[in-house]
Structure formats: C-alpha cells, structure tokens
C-alpha cells in the first residue's frame, strides 16, 4: 500500500505519451506545466512523429524508451489507451495517469473500453489515476500531470482529493491568483478505475507534506474502506468533505457528471460524522477554509471574540455565530475586559464582541486595534479572533504591521481579518496580510463560516474513541 503511489507523487522520471509540440494541445500544455514547476527528474516524450519538443528528443514509440521510468502520462484518444498501458507496463512503468475521457462516463462503447482497461490493469499490475482525470499535482516534488495551463503552483501543506477536474485546473488558478495559499498534493480522481478516494486519503493521512485534506466527492467506491481510513486519518489531521449529490436534484446532476449512484444522504451524513469527517456544503468553503489552515492553527474551540468598527456588525455577527454557525461569543475574562476599558472612552462599557472604534478615535487605529487584539487573544476564554478593519480614504489607512505582530504573539490561536470600506484599501490589506500569514476574507460573514468549519475539525480530532 502506498509504494507505487510514490511513483505518482515523487517520480524520478516521467514519460509523456502523446507529447505534442503544438501550444494549446493537451500534450503540450502538460509539458509546459512540468517545466513551469521546475521538475528535477528525467523527462521523456513519445509521439510517432518524432522530432524535438522544447529542445528534447521525441521517441517515436514506447518501445524505444529506456527501462525503469517511474511514471507515464498518457494523453491519447480513449481507444488507444488500453494498448498504451500494456506497452508502458512492458517497459516496467508502474504508475500511469490516463487523461482521456470517453469511457464509461460517455456511452456503451466507452464502457467496453473501460472494461478492457480494468483487465489490462489487472493483468499488468500497473497503478492508474483516471481515466478522465485532469491530472494531479505534487509541489514538494515540483511535479504535475495536469494538462490545463497552470503555471507554477505554489507549494504548501493543503491537499485536495477531487472527483472533478476543477482542482487541477480553473479552481487551482483561482487559488493561485486570488487566495494566495500553497498546496501540496492535488489528486483528480477521474473515473477512479484503480486509485480511489480511500487509497488517496490513506496516502495523504500519512504524508508529512500534507497538514489538512479537503475532498470533493460525488460517490464513494468502497464505503466501508473509506470510513475505516477516514476514522484514522481524522485523528491526525483535518479532513473536510464536500459531498456532491446531497439532494435528489444534485444527485441527478451527479449522475450526468460522474455516473455517481445516489445514496441516502442522512445515512451517509451519520457515517461521515462518526468517522470524524467534517462535512461542508459550499464549494467556496473548500478554498476559504483551506486558506485559513495554510497559515493559522486550528481553533482550539468554538469561543470567538471579534473586533469591529460598527455596532451593527457586532450585532449581526453575534446573531450569525449563534443562529447559524454554532460559535460562542463568550464573556471576556475580567483582565481582558479591563484592558479594553482602559483604552476606550469612559462612555462605552467594553465587552465581547468588541466595539473598537471609540478606542480608535482616541488612540488611533493601530494602537486601539493592536492592543484590543492582544487583550482578547490573551484571554483564556477565547479560542479565535476575527478583526474587522475599516479602511477608507476618509478615516485613513495605517500600516497593518500591528495585525501581524499581535497575531504572532499568540501562535496557538487563529486570527482572521475582514474589511469594511474602500475596495482599494481592502485589496491592499489582503495583499499585505496574506503573504505575512494572516488570512483575509472579503465579506464579513466569511471568517466566521470558516471558524465554524475548523472548530468542528478540532472536535473531530479530539473525539472520544468508540
């Protein structure tokens, strides 16, 4: 178990069967991705036309390849996949990525092709990701098999298992360009002919390069195995799941997408919970929560304090925590409360949540917010802090180092920032804070939604043994 998966995630040599010299073709995009990610291993190309690609020779057949290549990425029409697998296996290749669609997700002819693939996998003993996968990513090894133009993928400790092509493609572009966090392994499962979510989860659970696992699944191939693996994995690191097809309408869409069988969602839900899997229902939470974990610890619990420049936001976010998110907004310890009172005008009686603007009008934003953050972060009643910064031309925009410094003093409690005010300054605040390890969120509700998800992860990791 896991041995051949290393040849997927840490290959020393890779061959692209169906390599192309034409920009915009999948067989070329995959090469551009591998080069953009500075892959250090040996790279081989196969195309019957021969010639050169990116200054490297192209082998005209698989049989011309040397023995002992670790991994093959096969980018050929569906009908040619069975023979290609047989040939790469004959060359001693143990790990194969099959990009082509056109198998059981399409029609009866595809089903027949898929059955032949099953047979050749069994016969040869190769391990396969796909078919119908957009590929996988392994930043610790500077490698990807994705044929979607990605560019350099930033390295981090978040890993994804996805029964959709999105995560090695356009969602990864979104993460790279907007969410500013790095990933470790990304696995597009495709049709799950061989490698499935259970084995992928088992691999990532023991992977030292993965600190948290996010999954999008529409079906579970071996439910018993999956729950067994998850029960162990969720004690080691957070495991978050978005299960597509939670409703009859969604399930119908899932049949069209991945031919997923509908399951009784309530039974699945209970089983997931027992296995410590934290279930989510918003696609966007797959990257919002990941961003928080990429640079901040898990919240030790559900007790949140927040600082806002607006009484209405204090009220609305208290409602949100209490009504929708299962978060507590507890009373502060007296020492913290007194500290907040010290920096505030007399007319306001300080409490949690923290109305920080009166203090800011007296002491300035930097001092008031900075001291306020430290007061609540030091509070033993508080597990996590959300800071709502008001940034407008009119009220002035201070340097935001104080946020980074206050957060750094309390490395065991997460701090998230959100904004109100001018787009320009919110963007600048995000661009300053995120590279310094403080996640930011555009809308005021979002950091609370993330805390709610991650507090459940903590509880799952600490759940009693049955």
């Amino acid at each position: 178990m896991g041995e051949h998966l290393e040849k997927f995630f840490e290959p020393k040599s890779v061959v692209i069967v169906g390599a192309s010299s034409h920009p915009g073709k999948s067989g070329n995009d995959v090469i551009q991705n591998i080069l953009a990610n500075d892959f250090k291993g040996d790279l081989y190309f196969v195309n019957p036309k021969g010639g050169e690609i990116e200054g490297r020779p192209v082998h005209t057949s698989i049989s011309d390849l040397p023995e002992g290549i670790d991994q093959a990425i096969i980018i050929l029409p569906a009908s040619l996949n069975v023979e290609a697998v047989r040939q790469v296996a004959a060359k001693g290749i143990k790990a194969v990525v099959l990009a082509a669609g056109g198998f059981s997700e399409v029609d009866e002819a595809g089903e027949s092709l898929q059955q032949q693939l099953v047979d050749v996998i069994k016969e040869t003993g190769v391990r396969v990701i796909g078919p119908n996968t957009s590929g996988h990513i392994s930043t610790p090894h500077n490698f990807t098999s994705s044929f979607f133009p990605l560019g350099k993928v930033p390295r981090g400790k978040i890993s994804y298992i996805a029964q959709t092509g999105n995560f090695a493609t356009h969602t990864m572009r979104y993460i790279i360009t907007e969410e500013n966090f790095g990933v470790s392994r990304v696995i597009g499962l495709g049709n799950k002919l061989d490698l499935d979510e259970s084995e992928a989860l088992e691999y990532l659970a023991q992977d030292p390069e993965t600190s948290a696992i996010f999954m999008y699944l529409e079906s579970i191939k071996r439910p018993r195995k999956f729950l067994e693996v998850a029960s162990a994995a969720t004690r080691i690191k957070p495991v978050v799941l978005l299960k597509g097809g939670a409703t009859s309408q969604g399930a119908r869409a899932a049949v069209a997408h991945t031919a997923a069988m509908a399951t009784d969602d309530r039974i699945a839900d209970a089983a997931f919970k027992q296995a410590g899997i934290v279930r989510i229902y918003h696609y966007s939470h797959l990257f919002m929560a990941a961003k928080a974990l990429a640079s901040m610890p898990l919240p030790p619990g559900r007790r949140v304090s927040f600082l806002a420049p607006s009484g209405a936001m204090l009220v609305c976010m208290s409602d949100l925590c209490h009504r929708d998110l299962g978060l507590e907004v507890p009373q502060l310890a007296e020492a913290s409360r007194q500290r907040l009172q010290e920096i505030s005008p007399d007319f306001i009686r300080m409490r949690n949540p923290v109305d920080i603007w009166p203090a800011a009008t007296v002491h300035g934003v930097e001092y008031a917010y900075g001291e306020g953050m430290k007061a609540v972060l030091a509070d033993p009643n508080i597990d996590a802090v959300v800071v709502v910064l008001m940034l407008t031309d009119g009220t002035g925009v201070p340097p935001l180092d104080f946020v980074v410094e206050a957060a750094a003093q309390f490395p065991h409690k997460p701090v998230y920032v959100t904004f109100s005010g001018d787009k320009l300054h919110m963007e600048a605040g995000k661009d300053f804070l995120e590279p310094r390890g403080v996640p930011t969120y555009r809308l005021v509700e979002e950091p609370f939604e993330v805390l709610s998800i991650l507090a459940r992860c903590t509880e799952a990791m600490n759940r009693p043994q049955l």
Copy 2:
C-alpha cells in the same frame, strides 16, 4: 405626513450649524460631502468664530441667518443641541439633522438631554433625524448630511433605512468602490427620537425615486404602525429587512449598540412574513441583493437555469438550490433542450443545469455561452439564469459583449454572472459587465443566494390579500 420629509430629501437651502474650516472635522467633512455631490441649493454656515469656509461667509450665530431655510444640519456637542434646535426652529427651519451622539445610548445624563430634546421637538414642531445619526443621503437632489468622507455618491433607485451609521459611511464606500450600483435615499435613523422606520418606510414606499427598500433595524418603535405601513409598501416594491438581535447573543449586542429591547424573534418573524417583508440574515446580502435589483428585474419565480463549465459546480449548485435556498432547477422545455443539444457534442445529453463547456470546446466560449443563455432565457419553464464564466489565461478570455447582448434580449428575466479562474480576468469581467447592467458575483454561491431572496420578494408582492 411626508410634507416635512421633503425638506430632508429635497431641501432648497441648508445650514450647517457647527461648520468648520478644519479638514477632518465632522463640521468640515459634511461640507466637503455636500460640495462633492454638487448640491444645487443655497448653503449657509454657522460658527461663532465667523470668517469664511470654501469661499463662503460664516454666520456667527443662528439668529443672523435669513428666514425660511429648509434644513439644518447640527454638528455640535450633545449639550448644545437643545438650544440649537430651539434657535433654528425660531428661524422657521422645519427639518433638522442631529449628528451628535452622547444621548440615551450613553448614560443617564444623556438620557436627560434626550428628554429635553423630545420636549423641544414637541414644543417647536420641527422634524428631526437623529440624534446620533451619521446622516442621510438623497442623490436625486444631489444632497447628503453625512459627515463621513464619502465623495460623490452614485445615483440609483435603491434606498436604505438603517438603524446604524454604517450605510451613510463605510458601507457606502464599499458599495461605491466595489459593488458599482447607485442609491437613491439612505436614512441613518440614529436614536429615532422623531423620524422612525415606519415613517421612513412610508415615505420611500411612495417615493418615485425608490424602486426597492433595504432595511437594517435593531428595534421597531411602533410595531403596529410599522407592520401596517409595510403591508402596503411590500405590494408596491421589494422590502428586505435584516433584523439585528435575532438571537439572545445578538440581542445583547444590540442593547449595547442602540439600547434595542429584545423581542420574541419567532413572533416578529411571523408578523414580518405576513406583512410581506422579506427577511435576510447576512449583512452582505444587503448590498448583494441590492446590486441585482439595481440593474435587473425581479425574478418572476423560483425556477432557475444555470450554465457552468464544470460538472462539479452543476452538482453543488443544484444541491445548494434544493437544500438551502428553496430554488427549483426544473427540466427545460424540449425546444430549449434541443437547441442546447444542437450546439453540443453528441456524447453529452444536455439538460438543466447546463454543462456548457463541451459546446465551448466545439464552438468557442462566445457562441456556446451566448446561444446557451438565449436557449434557457427563452424557456417558459425558466425565471432566471446564472452564468458561471471560466476565465483563465490558458483557456482564453473572449470579449464579454455576448453576455450583455443575450441578457438584453430577455429584459424580464434576471441574468447574473459569476466566475471561476484567474482573479485578473474575473475583475476585468466584473468591470466590463456591471456598468453594462449585468451584476456579477465573486463566489459561485452568491448569485443563487440573491435569487432566493428576490424570488421571495416577488412572492411577497403577489401574495393574496387577507
């Protein structure tokens, strides 16, 4: 009723009592705002120091003012407000905005001052917004009393009634800089000593410059009157309410913010529903839903179609509609389905929601999305359409005119756009589409959340008479 409110919203002349020549002072910021908004009426300043501000003379006392000014904005310490109101009333001024805090929201001395204000209002018959208000905005009249640096506020048909200073201040800056829609009237109610939400709602219900009303309230001063006014208003235009203090924790925060009394939320909820008020629970929805109404019609119903480049998004959004939002994703009429099938490869059987990427790979993004949008917009089974555009460097970014053109052909059905892919192109898409009347949303869930709110508005307007 309503007569003196015109002097708030359509003043021909305004005096600022407490005008200041010092940038950054409230008594100066209000002047900058009025000038930035191109107020056409006469402007007077009062300050005991006299002199000039912005090239205009400053009167040293209220008694020096001419008779018959429409409105006074009083920016003085709380203790000076009673006398100032008495003096402006003596000059025939009928509409007064009181900016100062420091009344009943603070302490017992403030309560006493507030009682004196009540008495002087009764005695003089002036109408008052505030005290403790950040002011109001009336773009059809190029006017604002806000003392928060706003700049020019774009004109539109959305109006806000807010029991918080946010909407004439930093939330307005957010709307102006990020959400790209215009407003008509914005009323910061402050302590609601005189003008309250019931009268404001009655005014906006008959206001031809207001097409939709959004409210943030923490308390309701005259519940019976409010529900009576709302019952009529909600038949004419959408009325959306975020009620702060929906939970016991939120209610405690509301006591600290506006001294709002807690109400039994379930009883309030039933009464709001009967009055046709559409209740929301997210602060951010106050501007997300407003943006949709600023340029698109109300959805005629709950039946949505959406086009996405990703099977997983089709699945997840179907789940979201069905599980959380009460939206239907119905079968398409056969003519629409056939049209979608015509533009798609044979291997995919087209349905609602619409997997548009296969068609895009054959015909290009513009043709596939454009024709796909027209097919579902023409469908009698469909009330609204959400378009998920995938925009990345690798897949190419076409001109987005096709979205505007398809939407324009079906002016009675709303079209919202959301994105997946590169931040740069998503931002450019937003900047292109929103000025052309197509609202965009950053996260894929958001347009569906908005549709759910606005479909309830349609149902409220069409609800049976009791």
